[in-house]
């Protein structure tokens, strides 16, 4: 029983990281209609920027964090302004493809600046675990869990009540209609990319504290994809719930099925589960059902 609870707990914590990546993807999709496959690479960029200030320049943590987020805002704006704004009104496919090329571009730039070495941050989140009776939790994941929860509340409220949030949803629905009601599409686009980049940076920093800063960090972006789809492409609560489900599923499946099939279940279990769920609920758990007309 303890083993099971420990697995579930670890799963929830891993799921929180997935959720953080997924929220960024959902946010950008929700307001621009672009599926950003490069979220993993952006996450990696965030992790490396902090690395530069914290380790390479040796600045204090809080200054490094502030500068990192400032630069993340700038990076989000630049990406949107240069690569995606010219594609407003064009097919979503071209935009998808641009985000795909962004992976190569960002990985290339990161390698150019920081090289291919793997490194780690000095420990700023203590490695000592938190004990809950017989169960143990690492502090990094506890942090990411609460940050993810905080973000979900903040963004749900933002999209429900704030004029900018409403405007971003309108833009996602239809560029032309939104424009005709006086909403600036460009502002909405910029804003969603900036927010998406900042969230990715949070995820990247938390992930890198435990997994190290390496150029493979971006593969986590791929893992977030079943999360996004499971929760529903437009749903921020969906990203959280999906993340937690996939996280728990992975660890529990790895814990109980691995010995029988020779390992590696954690890699496929999310996808099998996602396919099954999509068969029953084609728009994910919380996705918007589109009413189709001819």
């Amino acid at each position: 029983m303890t083993t099971f609870l420990q697995l579930v707990l670890s799963g929830i914590m891993v799921g929180a990281i997935y959720s953080l990546v997924a929220i960024g993807i959902v946010l950008i999709f929700k307001s621009t209609g672009i599926f950003n496959i490069a979220q993993g690479a952006i996450l990696m960029l965030g992790a490396y920027i902090l690395f530069a200030f914290l380790v390479q320049l040796g600045w204090p943590l809080w200054i490094s964090l502030i500068i990192t987020f400032f630069l993340a805002v700038a990076a989000g704006y630049i990406i949107e302004r240069l690569a995606l704004r010219p594609l407003i009104g064009q097919s979503f496919l071209a935009a998808f493809m641009v985000t795909l090329a962004l992976i190569g571009l960002l990985e290339g730039l990161i390698t150019l600046v920081w090289g291919t070495f793997g490194r780690r941050y000095p420990e700023f989140i203590p490695p000592d675990p938190i004990h809950l009776g017989p169960l143990v939790l690492s502090q990094e994941y506890t942090w990411s869990f609460f940050i993810a929860m905080g973000l979900i509340v903040a963004f749900s409220l933002f999209f429900k009540y704030h004029p900018l949030g409403l405007a971003m949803r309108a833009v996602a629905e239809d560029h032309q209609v939104a424009q005709s009601t006086g909403i600036s599409i460009k502002t909405a686009f910029s804003l969603s990319w900036v927010i998406g980049t900042v969230i990715a940076t949070v995820g990247g920093i938390l992930l890198a504290t435990s997994a190290g800063v390496t150029i493979s960090l971006g593969t986590v972006g791929l893992k977030a994809m079943p999360v996004v789809l499971l929760g529903g492409l437009e749903s921020i609560p969906g990203a959280i719930v999906g993340g937690l489900i996939i996280g728990v599923l992975e660890t529990v499946a790895a814990g109980y099925i691995d010995p029988y099939v020779g390992g590696g279940v954690a890699e496929v279990a999310p996808f099998v589960f996602m396919v099954l769920i999509l068969l029953v609920k084609p728009y994910g758990l919380f996705g918007e059902h589109r009413i189709e007309r001819i």
Binding site: V14, T116, F117
Partner: protein
């Protein structure tokens, strides 16, 4: 007409690239024409996932033995020119690079990873170009193929670990148990069946075998299972030591860090020590490489002499930087040079082709690289030059692996048909 602007930009970008190529090519130092040149191929991971474990080493460091050879007058006045290609751990690009080498007239190719060696092995056998490297799997010692290796395989590594554990086990009431946590890749899976057979034979319990992804987020489920099995030793088998640190951190969390002895596989030991954290202090490691700190080995001093001529010293140590992985690459360079020298001496420069280099390699008998590696012996049915390793212990404060044993030959050996057998 914004789009037109971008179109112009695109065309000019491509034009700039195409135009820049010959200009840059002209800047490069050109070898005088009509010189006698032997071409070899060099398949590298400059980028891509594996390059993480190649640390701060530079391309110039790896190519230094050739540069030094050419500056000393080459092989009887014949220059050796390495053609190199980055394949970024991608099979297609490795094959494409191989075809370039073949077109360029390479007589021997040095692939630095197993992935590359396995990808081009069938092609090189077909085209009769020998491969020399440090990758070993059960397939890569097949005597019908043209791949020669200087290193033990993971099967041999694991057999050595089993033997080491057995030899140092004092408790007669029960058998020792070794578990493994590894990447879910050939590096972690290939040796399992053979290891289990050998362990049964000499009385060591193995398992569980646990697999984690390349970027491990949480290894708790795997570690819990290992904890339940109560092993005495756990082997950490990854392509870079970052994953090992993640595992050890999770082990600390579960309170099992001090309960077992951790043994690092080849790659964890060979990769840059700077990736380690204090948590890894005192863990054991097994490897067949040499480290720059081991100045008691004549080969290491010779390497420093060669590197010192061309590579700027590292400010911290006042010596050119290289680490375990580069130690492997450099010694393969030296073996290639020796094979080329023997080939030129035997058949002459004009007739030196793939088969001639193969014949030269097969004349290696207890060839000693001044202690950089156990003596090398190749033969018509012997593709593996040596299979000795040493055990090390990580001294985190001194940032180095300290050797614990002398060269130990693996109890597992490949026979004349490439099948593994245990002594």
């Amino acid at each position: 007409m914004k789009q037109k602007k971008y179109l112009v930009l695109l065309v000019s970008l491509l034009a700039a690239v195409v135009l820049a190529t010959p200009v840059l090519g002209a800047c490069a130092p050109q070898a005088p024409a009509k010189e006698k040149v032997i071409k070899i191929g060099y398949l590298l991971d400059l980028t891509g996932p594996v390059s993480v474990s190649l640390g701060k080493n530079t391309l110039a460091t790896w190519l230094t033995p050739y540069r030094d050879l050419n500056d000393r007058g080459g092989i009887n006045g014949v220059r050796v020119e390495p053609m190199w290609e980055d394949y970024a751990f991608n099979v297609d690009r490795a094959v494409a690079a191989y075809k370039k080498f073949k077109d360029g007239g390479a007589v021997v190719i040095h692939p630095i990873t197993t992935l590359a060696a396995e990808a081009i092995q069938p092609l090189s056998t077909r085209d009769r170009i020998p491969l020399v490297g440090n990758s070993t799997t059960d397939k890569l010692v097949d005597p019908t193929q043209w791949h020669y290796t200087l290193s033990p395989s993971y099967t041999q590594m694991f057999a050595s670990i089993i033997k080491y554990v057995k030899d140092n086990w004092k408790d007669t009431s029960r058998k020792p148990r070794i578990a493994q946590i590894a990447w879910d890749a050939p590096i972690g899976r290939g040796h399992i069946a053979a290891s289990e057979a050998y362990a049964k034979q000499i009385g060591v319990d193995l398992g569980p075998w646990e697999f984690i992804p390349l970027i491990p987020l949480d290894t708790t489920p795997n570690l819990l299972r290992i904890k339940d099995a109560k092993p005495d030793f756990v082997v950490l088998q990854f392509g870079n030591n970052i994953s090992a640190v993640s595992v050890l951190r999770d082990a600390l969390k579960l309170g099992m860090l001090d309960k077992v002895t951790w043994i690092n596989g080849f790659q964890n030991v060979n990769a840059a020590v700077s990736n380690w954290e204090a948590i890894g202090d005192g863990t054991l490691g097994i490897s067949d490489t040499i480290f720059p700190e081991e100045t008691n080995i004549p080969g290491v001093n010779a390497l420093f002499d060669t590197l010192g001529k061309y590579i700027a010293p590292d400010p911290a140590t006042k010596k050119p930087y290289f680490d375990g992985t580069t130690g492997l690459i450099l010694r393969a360079d030296l073996a290639v040079i020796e094979a080329l020298t023997r080939g030129v001496n035997k058949v002459g420069f004009e007739k030196l082709d793939g088969p001639a280099v193969k014949d030269a390699l097969e004349t290696f008998k207890d060839y000693d690289l001044k202690g950089l590696v156990a003596p090398l012996t190749f033969g018509p049915t012997k593709r593996q030059g040596q299979s000795s390793m040493r055990f090390f212990q990580l001294d985190f404060k001194a940032k180095q692996w300290k050797s614990q044993t002398n060269w130990i030959q693996s109890p597992a050996q490949y026979d004349d048909t490439g099948k593994i057998a245990f002594k």
